[in-house]
Symmetry: C3
Subunit: 320 residues, 3 copies
Amino acid sequence: MSQANPQLNARGGLQHLLTIEGLPQEIVRHILDTAGSFVGIGEREVKKVPLLRGKSVFNLFFENSTRTRTTFEIAAKRLSADVINLNVNTSSTTKGESLLDTVDNLAAMNADMFVVRHAQSGAPHLIARHVRSQPHLHVVNAGDGRHAHPTQGLLDAYTIRHYKRDFAHLSVAIVGDILHSRVARSLIQVLRTLGTPDVRVIAPQTLLPTGIEGMGVKVFHDVEKGLRETDVIVMLRLQNERMRGPLLPSAQEFFKTYGLTAERLALARPDAIVMHPGPMNRGVEIDSLVADGGQSVILPQVTFGIAVRMAVMSILAGGS
Amino acid sequence: MSQANPQLNARGGLQHLLTIEGLPQEIVRHILDTAGSFVGIGEREVKKVPLLRGKSVFNLFFENSTRTRTTFEIAAKRLSADVINLNVNTSSTTKGESLLDTVDNLAAMNADMFVVRHAQSGAPHLIARHVRSQPHLHVVNAGDGRHAHPTQGLLDAYTIRHYKRDFAHLSVAIVGDILHSRVARSLIQVLRTLGTPDVRVIAPQTLLPTGIEGMGVKVFHDVEKGLRETDVIVMLRLQNERMRGPLLPSAQEFFKTYGLTAERLALARPDAIVMHPGPMNRGVEIDSLVADGGQSVILPQVTFGIAVRMAVMSILAGGS
Amino acid sequence: MSQANPQLNARGGLQHLLTIEGLPQEIVRHILDTAGSFVGIGEREVKKVPLLRGKSVFNLFFENSTRTRTTFEIAAKRLSADVINLNVNTSSTTKGESLLDTVDNLAAMNADMFVVRHAQSGAPHLIARHVRSQPHLHVVNAGDGRHAHPTQGLLDAYTIRHYKRDFAHLSVAIVGDILHSRVARSLIQVLRTLGTPDVRVIAPQTLLPTGIEGMGVKVFHDVEKGLRETDVIVMLRLQNERMRGPLLPSAQEFFKTYGLTAERLALARPDAIVMHPGPMNRGVEIDSLVADGGQSVILPQVTFGIAVRMAVMSILAGGS
């Protein structure tokens, strides 16, 4: 691993996918182009290619997420890998084994790839650093704390490129709980990497991290102002479990102030697309009419997400 | 999907398997004949055929049942499908995602088949109706509420046909908790579809649904009278978890009044066979001597059940 | 199954792997030699051989152990078997189905192999005896109560042979909670079978089973005396969950009296190797410096463990 960027190997190739931050634009574009070649596989009779045949992929989920785990499981199986699912909170960590001992153990079973989900920011980095002497071993961050969710950012970028072709003149609005959202962080980074000129975040002050302007975005508190003339609207999930505190009055109040309704959508460009990382809270951050409407590309995001994960996995492990 | 029968496609072929009710006799016979060709595969060195290679089968279990899930998982793997197990109660529904959003999401991952188990009657129908615009997508009901368990009904029919050849002169008794049993409903329907002249239900009044005679069965409250001269006896599981109410005094009392003992079995025809959908409560609905005796075909039911599920899956997804 | 030894078939071949006890030395050597041929597969691009293609392997875990289950799952998948994981405590046993009914049921699904983990000593034997009329069906004990963990014993033996070549002049020390350890029992038996002249157990009296000398070992209470001039040191896991009683004062106290430190390791031969079955309690039975040090072969044990399990599975089911 290079010192400068722990996810690149000495030749500048992708060794791990930990974060969008610092990822060269060529690598991002290469992932999106490769994903494009995988989209067609999902529509075939036999949805399988042998690129990872005989490889062992471990879904190492320290935080439960059936939904995300499923997308990686399908992607790996369509690449013909052997997949092992490990929900580690119910396993050896309860026996007091440390994270890195678990990793060493699985690595000794001749693992090829770890797909890691962890409630703590930085856990995938820690693992990648720990296995740095084993170049055949690759780590994919499937979401760590509030830090990053790079495959989500990449699938968002793939979706935008699919519908809008080019990032050079785009205006993208991200609406909702930016503060707790690794999705928002990864999306902002990938949009900046691809040269999007106008990235906006729309949220109450209490749901914005301090210094967010430093990421190159414009801040709006007023959703009507923020959505005006945008090409892409990304609604974030309002995580109810985090709303127990004094940050927000209620879900109904949030919908009234920030929820995406048909009226608000009409403020954006007529051909604007609506995205959401899922799972949606209908009637909280998004109105059902909009979620199911003609401008919504929420389900294509899911389809492209499989192709993007196949692309990342095949770039990491397919060529070694 | 045709309006008249949501499980048939426009050409009258099987699009989903939701219930035995209304299923044409030719389709039932086609499933049983196809299952016959799969029974041999289970005895081979290599128990695998490539009929579903590269297809994605989702076991969508909203109600936990390792036993049933395992039979579908094995059937799908022997057809070479990629299988994804989802216990949905522990997953995104806890995040407030609706059933149909979950289904849309998985469909967008290019699913080919959903095997659905749900505590609520009608859930598989709801899913089938929801995906009706996607003809490549098939739904199999693996048990919904008190409504139906069609693959169980079909494997019961396969077992009876295996031992008795023909349904035209058969007398079949179903004994026990008819009221709560989707197994009983599906079995009665498949027996009627195949022209069984004498189908009896034997139970106390409290364990019979009102209007059961409308299904074309004869009702007996006295087990000794009901079993007389029958060719097939199907004992139902007494679901202890449902026996908390005033419906029945106790398991011992039930065994005394309705349990299948060697003495009671002797009232049936000498070559009568004994069936049970499992898991058995030995000493509650059935005596161990009978369960393990020469007339029991309870384990062959399990073997045939794999072949029947392979048949259903290959008819649904193998030819598309 | 022969009467004399339930795990051998009539021709003296391996039918089940239940315990090391009574296993002929030729069979132990054959397993280790076969494992040797599998070690290389883990390092290949395509880590897969078709020896168990189309076979159904059931991981029947009545006691939860993600770690052990994973090793068998990987081994089976690398042999191209179809693997079904069953955590049986959460399944039909909660519905009151007996162990042997569960086994009959799975056998009726044309299972080829059961990998059984159970909290009760003897459960895998019980299952093997129950399926004795089905010679195509094989049982592997993956740990039963305090009784045996034969694949662990075999992988320990493989590791020792790898580093020390020959057992004829070896001195091996096993340190810690011998009383509760099926690992210790299986290891002692395999070492005796392979002719190891000097096997020592080092533990306080309270953690030794009565009559341990009958297994052909020397007992030491003083760790410094016991380690002297040994070639191999095997540290056992101190199972905290069993330490609630009056057997031991505390983890710190244990480390002080029996934990393997660099100073104590220096008492052994200069080329002594350090082993541990995992998961480790760093700072309880072993110091981190030793666990990660140059004499530790704890991670190679894991790697060899996959090869040993592939060897056992292929000998049992690959040739039938």
